[in-house]
């Protein structure tokens, strides 16, 4: 009987099966940020267990509120910073070098096919785009990960979602994942790992795969995983060129984790996206998804382009292509937050930042801030945002605020019109 990629990764990392239905896995990476890690650090200190299992496998970043907005967030940064220093965690990204965790860690080459990764952040599933098993966990799991380098998971069941067809112009990875969530619902993949396959996924670049894997958790999934292929290898090549003779050799090594053709799946679904149009959300759940054309006329106060879902260089290129030579609607606040310093600097080099600024956007440093209503663009009561982020919960970007999730292209078009608008209006 064949195995799925997740089953192969689990088998390769199995430490113990203490009660049959749960696997204790050895961890290759423990990622940390300043919101969920300080409590774990404090608890370890209080227990007299202020140790780390392997400083080279722990990567840390200050990203959620950066620069610190008040004394409390400054203290969270300080606790993480001092901890990284005293344990010799050299891959620690502080202000000036910091970016949104799920953008900067892949960019630094820390994510490889076949690895096991946890982080105290639900969107850790993003890293499944590289063919890794990556899952968000709470602070206690994180704490044990830091201390012992292990984590427990239920033995994986996999939901195979095939995405096939040919995308129409103006339809992007974000539209695809919102459509997937609409079809399977916010708990359609709970306790399962989504495996994204099909010609559309094969043709995606890594930025696009990270967009779809990022939102797997919005359907309840433990992780959202893509098979490693030559696109994965080419992205990683600068980091792995000393490990392998050639990209082909790297692919052969990584392919040992690929799902077998006779692997057994708990569920399967095929979605043809050929007729898909741009979509957005309307309610307070990520599966409340409608066509952008059905939402026409919905006015917005703020447009936010950024986040671990859609703050990467390709997202900025797409939004800038829509905005070039145009102005955002008077009364609408535009905010763009490149997700990492490299993306920011690349966007300057390509002239994208000038396009955003000429259009009237505020350009912020890389941070998660606005996405979860913590800093850098919090909504006031009764305000409406168009956002390229991943969650539209009631009050997510600010108490009493409404969030409509959409692609960077739709967000840019919406900024120009001041109401939810299809980008095809502005792009030839």
């Amino acid at each position: 009987m064949g195995k799925t990629i997740s089953e192969k990764i689990f088998n390769a990392h199995l430490v113990d099966e203490p009660f049959g239905d749960v696997s204790v896995l050895r961890l290759d990476r423990v990622f940390c940020h300043e919101i969920t890690t300080p409590t774990a650090i404090q608890d370890l200190v209080a227990r007299g267990k202020d140790r780390v299992f392997d400083p080279d496998k722990i990567k840390a970043v200050i990203d959620h509120v950066s620069p610190a907005k008040d004394s409390k967030t400054a203290m969270q940064g300080k606790i993480l910073r001092q901890w990284a220093e005293r344990h010799g965690i050299k891959d620690f990204f502080d202000i000036g070098n910091n970016g949104v965790c799920h953008a900067i860690f892949p960019e630094k080459g820390f994510v490889r096919p076949g690895l096991t990764i946890i982080m105290g952040d639900s969107h850790t599933c993003t890293h499944g785009a590289f063919g890794a098993f990556a899952a968000g966990v709470g602070t206690t799991d994180l704490e044990v990960g830091i201390l012992k380098g292990v984590c427990t998971f239920k033995n994986p069941e996999t939901y195979r979602i095939e995405i096939k067809g040919k995308l129409s112009q103006g339809v992007y990875a974000k539209d695809i994942i919102l459509e997937v969530i609409r079809q399977i619902s916010v708990d359609g993949a709970t306790n399962m790992i989504i495996e994204f396959v099909g010609n559309v996924v094969d043709e995606m670049n890594m930025d696009q795969r990270m967009t779809i894997s990022n939102m797997a958790v919005e359907a309840g999934a433990t992780s959202g995983i893509c098979q490693p292929d030559m696109t994965t290898v080419e992205y990683l090549w600068p980091f792995i060129k000393d490990e392998f003779k050639s990209p082909e050799a790297a692919l052969e090594a990584y392919s040992k984790f690929s799902s077998d053709t006779d692997a057994v799946y708990a569920k399967k679904k095929t979605i043809d996206v050929s007729l898909l149009e741009p979509v957005t959300t309307f309610g307070f759940k990520p599966d409340n998804v409608r066509l952008v054309s059905q939402m026409k006329g919905t006015r917005v106060d703020q447009v936010y382009i950024g986040s671990c879902t859609n703050g990467r260089i390709e997202d900025l290129r797409i939004a800038a292509a829509v905005l070039k030579g145009k102005k955002i609607k008077e009364g609408v606040r535009g905010i763009v937050s490149p997700a990492t310093p490299w993306i920011f600097s690349q966007a300057i080099e390509e002239g994208l930042i000038k396009i955003f600024m000429d259009a009237g956007f505020c350009v912020t440093n890389p941070t998660c801030g606005a996405c979860l209503g913590m800093s850098n663009g919090v909504l006031a009561e009764g305000e409406v945002a168009a956002a390229t982020t991943n969650r539209n919960f009631n009050g997510r970007m600010g108490k009493g605020g409404m969030v409509h999730l959409m692609s960077p292209a739709t967000a840019a078009a919406t900024a120009i019109q001041g109401e939810i608008t299809n980008s095809s209006l502005f792009v030839n």
Binding site: P18, G120, M374
Partner: protein, 174 residues
Amino acid sequence: MKEFKGKVLCLDRSDINTDEIIPARYLTEIEKIAMKPHLLEDLTLGSFSPEKDVKDIGVVLSRENFGCGSSREHAPWALEVNGIYVVLAQSFARIFRQNMFNCGMLAIDLPQGKIDSLFEFCKQGQAFLSVDIEALKIQVEAHGRSLELSFAMSEFDKALVREGGWVEYADKNY
């Protein structure tokens, strides 16, 4: 091990998310106790009032996909510091459920029929519920009447609850 009993708070809706349990603006707190006044602060649900309705509660009863959204363990902590160590629901989001057991608390999923009967029972007046994890029984009382239900729990979850959470268990075993 904690005691699993108390007055029941009924939250009759699916997909109660972590932002509703504890909004992100309180994630800058490092002490768990700071979350106490903010439990369910942003939840809008019928006549529910976060100021009045979470006092003296020991158990939350809800529907499907409870705790969806963020990985924040601040959600179980916000329950814990308010003395709520048990959530009963038709289903849970994975991370929230694991966080509850990792803290030595209970997230018990029950089939729809049992959840329906608990909601029906609790309509009669303030209900008091207790959970026995050895006998795998839930006992609920209101206005002199009582109802008993059975539930299932994995050996691993029991071990976590008995040990008082995952840190002690893992440090002992791995």
